[in-house]
Amino acid sequence: MADTRRPVPQPPPGDDSWQEEYWRRNLRLMVLLLSIWFLVSYVLGILLVEPLNNIVIGGFPLGFWFAQQGSIYVFVLLILVYAVRMDRLDQEFGVDERDEEEDVR
C-alpha cells in the first residue's frame, strides 16, 4: 500500500484527530489481511476445492493443497505482515513502545 509513504498530518498537541486516523488505518490493514485469510482458507480450500482439484501440481490436487498446506503458509505470513506494518504505523504516530522495550529487567 503506497499510502503509508504520504506525509502524515502532524496535529498540534492536545488534538485527538490522530487517534481516529491511527485507528482507521489499523482497521483498514486488518480488513485487508482478514480478507486474504478468508480467501485462502474458506474460498480456495473449501468452497472452490472441487474445481481446483482438477489442477494437479507436483502430485497435489490444487484445492487439496490449499486446504492442507497452502493456507497454513499464508496464515504465518499474514501475522508477520501485520506485526511489521503495525510497527511502522506505531512509529509514524509516535505511539510505539521503544522506551519500555529498552527497560531491561
Binding site: Q10, P13, W18, Q19, Y22, W23, N26, M30, L33, L34, W37, S41, Y42, G45, I46, L47, V49, E50, N53, I57, G58, G59, F60, P61, G63, F64, W65, A67, Q68, Q69, S71, I72, Y73, F75, V76, L78, I79, L80, Y82, A83, M86, D87, D90, Q91, E92, F93, G94, V95, D96, E97, R98, D99, E100, E101, E102, R105
Partner: protein, 560 residues
C-alpha cells in the same frame, strides 16, 4: 526389556528430568509470577511456549491419524487449528496485552460487570476441563503402550506427573518448561517425518514430497474399502467442513489458556510478534502432519496388502496389547481396513495410535520410536499444565476471592489455586479413563464452547464501545446454552444433524448467535459509562503519544 522400551524409558526419563529441573529452578511464591510470569518472558521464548501450550496430545498424537483416515476432510483440523492465530493476532492479542490483567474473566469483568466475570470464569473452567481430559487420555495412551499398563494405569501415571510440576512451578516455571517441551516435541515429530519422506520418496522434505504418493494412496484406499484420499467431503458435507473449520478457528482465538499467554510479553509489540513466532512454530508441525498421515497410511496399507495373517508386520502385534489395534476373527488375508470398530473390517486401527506407531510401521530404529513417545508426552503434559493454570486462576482469582472471600493473603490465594489444580487433575483423570469420544473430538468440543462464549464478547468489547454488560451477559449465555444443548442432543440423545451440521461445527453458529444477541441487547439498554469508553479508547494505542514521533528518531532497537 525390548530395545523400544529401553529407548522410550531413556528419553522419557531424560526429558522429564529436564522439565522438573526447570520447574524447580523457576518456582515462584508470588501470585503474579504464578499466573503471568511477571511479564518478563522474551518474545521468541513466549512464542515457543504458546506453541507447546497449544499443541496438545490432539495435535501430536491424534491429528495425523485423523487426517490419515479423513483424507481431504482432515483439513478441518489443519486449517482450523492454525487459522485462529490470525484472528488472535489481529483482533485480540495486542489489545488484551495493553489491558494487562491476569485472566480472561478479569478482562471481561473490567469491561462489563462482575456478573459477566463470574459467568466467564465458569465457562473458562468448563472449557479447560473438557480440554484437559483429552490430554489425560493422550498421555495415558503413551504410558499404557510403553509401560505395558492398561489404559487406566497409564492415565494414573500421567495424572501424577502433571500434578507434580504444574503445582510446583506456576506460570513462570511452566513457560520455561514449555520452551523445553516444544523443542522435544518438534524434534520428535520432524525426525521421523523427514526419515520416512527420504525412505519413501527419496527427498527428505515431507511437505514437498507427499504429493507424489497421493495417486497410489488413492488406489490403495479404494482397494481396502476406504474412500478416495484426496476426494473432498467424503466424511462430512461441505457446509459442515466450513463450519467445523470456522468453529475451531474462532475457538482457538477464544481459548483462555492461549489468550492468557499474551499477557506474559513485556509490550504490545511483543504480543504481536509472539503470535507470529507461535504460529511459525506450530506450522512446522501442522504442515508435516498431513504428510505423516499420508506416509503412515500408505505404509500401513502397503504392509498388510496380501500378507497371510501370521506374517503381518511386527507393529500390529506390539499394539494389539493396548486393545487399540484389532484383527477380526477367522480370516486369512486382510482385505479391509478401518478406524471404526463398528465397520467390522478385517483390521481396525484406532486413529490415536497412528503417530506413535508411525516409526514402527515404517520400520525406523528403536531410538526414534522412543523419541516419538517422549514427544507425545511433552505435548500432552505442556498443554495440561497450561490448562490447569487457567482452572486454578479462574477458581481462586476470579471466583473464590471475588465472591466468597475478598482480601485474602497471597499465600492463601496460592494455596487455594493449588488445591483447585489438584481437584482438576482428579476429575480430568476420571474422564480420561472413561472418555466421551476420541482425543481430537473431545478437544473439538472445548473449542466449540470457547468459540460460542468468549470470542464474540471479547472482540465486541474492543471494537465496539457501545457494547455493554447486559448485552455481553445475554450473548454469552445464549451462545453457550445453544452450543451445549446441540452438542449433548446430537451426541447422547440421538438428535439428527440439522442441515448436516455436526456437534463439532455448531460452535460457529453459537458464536454468531452470541454476536447477534450481544449487539441487539446492547442497543436496547443504556450505553456503558464514560470511564469505560475511555479505557477502551486507551487500549487501542500501544503507548502514550510522544511529542516527537519515533519515525523521525533513529536507532530504533528491533530485537524481538
Amino acid at each position: 526389556m525390548t530395545p523400544i522400551q529401553f529407548w522410550t524409558f531413556l528419553f522419557i526419563l531424560l526429558s522429564f528430568g529436564l522439565y522438573i529441573y526447570i520447574a524447580w529452578r523457576s518456582r515462584v511464591r508470588e501470585t503474579s509470577g504464578f499466573y503471568v510470569a511477571g511479564q518478563g518472558i522474551p518474545t521468541v521464548a513466549n512464542g515457543a511456549a504458546v506453541a507447546a501450550d497449544w499443541m496438545s496430545a490432539a495435535s501430536f498424537i491424534s491429528m495425523a491419524g485423523l487426517v490419515a483416515f479423513l483424507g481431504y476432510d482432515g483439513a478441518i483440523y489443519l486449517m482450523g487449528w492454525t487459522g485462529g492465530y490470525v484472528l488472535l493476532a489481529l483482533l485480540l492479542a495486542p489489545y488484551l496485552r495493553k489491558w494487562g490483567k491476569f485472566t480472561v474473566p478479569e478482562y471481561v469483568g473490567d469491561r462489563y460487570s462482575e456478573l459477566v466475570r463470574t459467568m466467564a470464569a465458569g465457562a473458562a473452567i468448563f472449557v479447560s476441563f473438557t480440554y484437559v481430559v483429552g490430554q489425560m487420555r493422550g498421555g495415558g495412551i503413551v504410558f499404557s503402550r510403553f509401560l505395558g499398563l492398561p489404559i487406566p494405569g497409564g492415565v494414573a501415571v500421567a495424572m501424577a506427573i502433571i500434578f507434580t510440576y504444574a503445582v510446583l512451578g506456576g506460570m513462570k516455571g511452566i513457560t520455561w518448561t514449555q520452551v523445553a517441551q516444544y523443542s522435544v516435541l518438534i524434534v520428535a515429530y520432524l525426525i521421523p517425518g523427514f526419515a520416512i519422506a527420504q525412505r519413501l520418496t527419496g527427498f527428505p522434505v515431507p511437505q514437498v514430497t507427499f504429493g507424489t504418493l497421493l495417486n497410489e494412496l488413492n488406489a490403495l484406499s479404494v482397494q481396502f474399502g476406504l474412500p478416495n484420499y484426496t476426494e473432498p467431503f467424503t466424511a462430512r458435507p461441505q457446509i459442515d467442513v466450513f463450519l467445523v473449520t470456522l468453529s475451531l478457528m474462532i475457538g482457538t482465538a477464544g481459548l483462555p489458556h492461549v489468550i492468557i499467554r499474551f499477557y506474559t510479553t513485556r509490550t504490545v509489540r511483543g504480543a504481536r510478534y509472539s503470535a507470529f513466532w507461535a504460529l511459525l512454530f506450530i506450522a512446522l508441525l501442522y504442515t508435516t502432519a498431513p504428510a505423516i498421515g499420508v506416509f503412515s497410511k500408505y505404509n500401513l496399507l502397503e504392509g498388510v496388502d496380501g500378507q497371510p495373517i501370521d506374517q503381518l508386520p511386527q507393529w500390529i502385534g506390539n499394539w494389539e496389547a493396548t486393545g487399540l489395534v484389532t484383527i477380526a476373527e477367522g480370516i486369512d488375508v486382510i482385505d479391509s481396513v478401518s478406524n471404526n470398530p463398528a465397520d467390522g473390517a478385517d483390521l481396525t486401527v484406532d486413529n490415536d495410535i497412528l503417530v506413535l506407531a508411525t516409526p514402527e510401521i515404517a520400520g525406523l530404529p528403536a531410538p526414534i520410536v522412543g523419541l516419538v513417545a517422549a514427544g507425545g508426552l511433552a505435548a500432552a503434559m505442556s498443554t495440561a499444565a497450561g490448562l490447569l493454570l487457567v482452572i486454578s486462576s479462574s477458581v481462586s482469582h476470579d471466583v473464590y476471592f471475588r465472591r466468597f472471600k475478598t482480601g485474602a493473603s497471597e499465600r492463601e490465594q496460592l494455596r487455594v489455586g493449588r488445591i483447585a489444580m489438584g481437584a482438576g487433575v482428579l476429575v480430568a483423570g476420571f474422564f480420561g479413563v472413561n472418555p466421551p469420544g476420541f482425543v481430537a473430538q473431545i478437544v473439538a468440543f472445548a473449542f466449540g464452547l470457547a468459540a460460542s462464549s468468549f470470542f464474540p464478547i471479547i472482540v465486541l468489547g474492543i471494537f465496539w464501545k457501545r457494547c455493554n454488560a447486559q448485552g455481553a451477559a445475554a450473548g454469552l449465555l445464549t451462545g453457550l446454552t445453544f452450543t451445549t444443548v446441540y452438542m449433548i442432543g446430537t451426541l447422547y440423545l440421538g438428535w439428527p444433524h440439522v442441515l448436516g451440521i455436526s456437534p463439532e461445527g455448531i460452535g460457529a453458529i453459537g458464536a454468531l448467535l452470541n454476536f447477534l444477541v450481544t449487539i441487539a441487547v446492547s442497543k436496547m439498554t443504556p450505553p456503558p459509562p464514560a470511564h469505560l469508553r475511555e479505557m477502551i479508547e486507551s487500549i487501542r494505542y500501544p503507548a502514550a503519544r510522544r511529542a516527537v514521533p519515533a519515525a523521525v528518531a533513529t536507532g530504533r532497537s528491533d530485537r524481538t
